[in-house]
């Protein structure tokens, strides 16, 4: 999580830059698609502007089917797909542009590099219509941007997984697509490779403002990349918006399950305690301060902190002699029972925590709305998100 500061620095710049109206991707489609648990109806309607839009959802939610429809590899049952105002598919007008005429970049989950071509030939492959000289210049430029120029004479089988990922991205981008579809392109990478690849992708996107649909089921990637996130569940959009709104505000069970954190806070770094390996962060806009594990960040920078509801403790009296560093006074607002779990919403000075308890604990402590409690947060239960 050491690279957390990088994502924070770049994201605001992207959000404020001008977005050309012509570049957006409009999708309104329906399609029945098979799924291990029977079949779902994919039924989505959204608009993706230039920049990263994250498609977030469990496997089988319809993410890949959606990308296939946009790329033209699979036909929707009905609806409309348009990029930059131009129809690619329109069931009413009986229009369906062939995949190879769509100019939509698609990086498949397993990359699909051509095994009989070198890295350089793979990257130059999409430049069919250009002269040999121009093809050479353009592909060398892209190989340079993705720092794989030294691999250009090697076959896909002779390079590493991270390098293959770079070749696949470079191959899609060099054709200057009107939109870019990335199906979990970072899934197999370690954190360091991931963040450097994302950096290169952002660099490219600053010059070519196109919509980038980025599929993931990794909650951390949502925060690191997303200008906008769309949550898909069983073929439907269940939430859409900026990552911290979507992942936090509507306490959707799917979102919580996928990200793994019921509590997600925007946080500001107040102080670093390098000797102790911790730092102090203020949560949200409230007055609550917690001690979290130390990551590479500067004082004053913004991060996100995720805490699992099951990792939190409640006490009815101020506890003593605890190893946990954070003991926050608060008031129970609501209690909800789901199966054998009791979910308590606790307001600590304007910051709301969700805490999971057992039925027995609720009864033994006689918990109910309005009761004063202390929330205990272990330092290492605070997960800093970012890449």
């Amino acid at each position: 999580m050491g690279g957390g500061a990088m994502a924070v620095k770049i994201a605001p710049a992207l959000q404020t830059s001008a977005q050309p109206i012509s570049a957006d991707l409009e999708v309104r489609i329906r399609k029945r698609f098979p799924n291990p648990e029977g079949s779902f109806n994919l039924n989505v309607h959204f608009r993706a502007l230039a920049g990263f839009t994250i498609l977030f959802g469990a496997s089988g939610a319809g993410k890949t089917t959606l990308l296939d429809c946009i790329a033209g590899l699979s036909d929707p049952d009905d609806g409309r797909i348009a990029v930059g105002g131009e129809d690619l598919y329109d069931s009413e007008k009986k229009q369906n542009v062939a995949a190879w005429k769509r100019r939509i970049g698609y990086v498949h989950q397993d990359l699909a590099l051509f095994p009989h071509l070198t890295a350089g030939e793979n990257v130059a492959y999409g430049l069919r219509t250009l002269s040999a000289a121009e093809r050479q210049t353009r592909s060398r430029e892209m190989l340079g941007l993705f720092r794989i120029d030294h691999l250009r004479d090697r076959r896909p089988a002779q390079i590493s997984g991270g390098e293959r990922q770079r070749v696949a991205l470079a191959r899609a981008l060099v054709t200057e697509p009107r939109a870019l579809l990335l199906d979990e392109p970072l899934a197999a990478l370690d954190r360091l490779t991931k963040s450097s690849l994302v950096g290169d992708l952002r660099k490219w996107n600053q010059h070519h403002r196109v919509p980038i649909l980025f599929v993931t089921h990794n909650g951390e990637e949502v925060f690191a990349l997303g200008d906008e996130v769309i949550v898909l569940d069983a073929g439907r959009i269940v939430a859409q918006g900026q990552p911290h709104e979507v992942m936090r505000a509507p306490r959707l069970e799917t979102v919580a399950n996928l990200s793994g954190f019921e509590n997600i806070f925007d946080a500001t770094v107040l102080a670093l305690h390098e000797g102790r390996g911790t730092m102090t962060c203020r949560l949200g806009s409230g007055a609550v301060e917690v001690e979290t594990p130390l990551v590479r960040a500067e004082v004053g920078s913004h991060l996100r902190v995720g805490v699992r509801a099951g990792d939190l403790l409640l006490a009815t009296e101020h506890p003593r002699g605890l190893s946990a560093r954070n003991v926050l006074p608060g008031t129970i607002r609501r209690l909800e029972q789901r199966d054998v779990i009791v979910s308590a919403m606790v307001d600590c000075d304007g910051t709301e925590f969700e805490v999971h308890l057992t039925l027995a604990a609720r009864d033994a402590l006689q918990l109910g709305p309005g009761k004063s409690v202390w929330v205990v947060v272990k330092t290492h239960s605070c997960h800093l998100m970012g890449m």
């Binding site: 790329a71 062939a98 005429k101 698609y106 498949h108 009989h116 054709t175």
Partner: protein
């Protein structure tokens, strides 16, 4: 050893297997990618020569080439002689006879190319035909060589079709398998033995090439 029959046979096999590359690739392409519901009927028709007695196939080819069929009449008006009992007639009969031995390995290797590669190629602006030329064909090298070698070897050893369509005209339609038969008929065993051995060795060599090429660890060749 009848060298005249030997070279005639090699010439026939080379012409037939080369033509089958040109004819077999489009047929295999269609069989691999067509979604026509009655496709299986065409598949069955292409495979017929594998199970049909060569004499049956030869009989129908003879009828089709004869002066009473439209094809035979058209050829006769064009060249002044019939197709039956000529080298050209032999080529046509052998093309049909060896067709499945080219088409089936072709189609199998086309079908084995990962579909995601075809999709990637489409996303990169290549039409299905361009994709076929730049991705499918190069990745099907082993299948193409196999189809070529099998149809070559199969034509080399054919007997029934040749006898029905070509007869036994020295220098025109007498192939080695017919020559061997002739020699046995005239009790000339040592010559028959010699020719049979040559045919056996060539066939073994060709099949060794095929199986060597299809060995998993090599894919394209041990020299790569």
């Amino acid at each position: 050893m009848n060298w005249e029959a030997f070279w005639l046979t090699v010439r026939l096999a080379a012409i037939v297997s080369t033509l089958l590359i040109a004819i077999g690739i489009p047929i295999a392409y269609w069989l691999t990618y067509s979604r026509w519901r009655w496709k299986f009927l065409v598949e069955a028709a292409v495979a017929l020569p594998i199970v049909l007695p060569p004499t049956v196939l030869g009989f129908y080819v003879l009828v089709a080439l004869g002066s009473r069929s439209p094809l035979g009449r058209w050829w006769e008006s064009l060249t002044g002689h019939t197709l039956a009992f000529t080298f050209e007639g032999l080529v046509i009969g052998s093309l049909l006879y060896s067709l499945p031995f080219a088409v089936q390995p072709f189609a199998a290797s086309f079908g084995a190319v990962d579909r995601t590669l075809l999709q990637a190629s489409a996303s990169l602006g290549h039409s299905p035909l361009q994709t076929f030329r730049r991705i499918v064909l190069p990745l099907s090298k082993a299948g193409l060589v196999t189809g070529f070698a099998l149809s070559f070897a199969h034509t080399l050893g054919e007997f029934g079709v040749v006898l029905m369509v070509g007869g036994n005209i020295p220098g025109v339609t007498r192939t080695i398998s017919i020559d061997i038969y002739d020699q046995v008929q005239t009790a000339n065993y040592s010559s028959a033995n010699q020719t049979a051995l040559v045919l056996l060795l060539i066939s073994f060599f060709v099949l060794s090439v095929v199986y060597g090429l299809n060995r998993r660890p090599w894919v394209v060749g041990p020299w790569r």
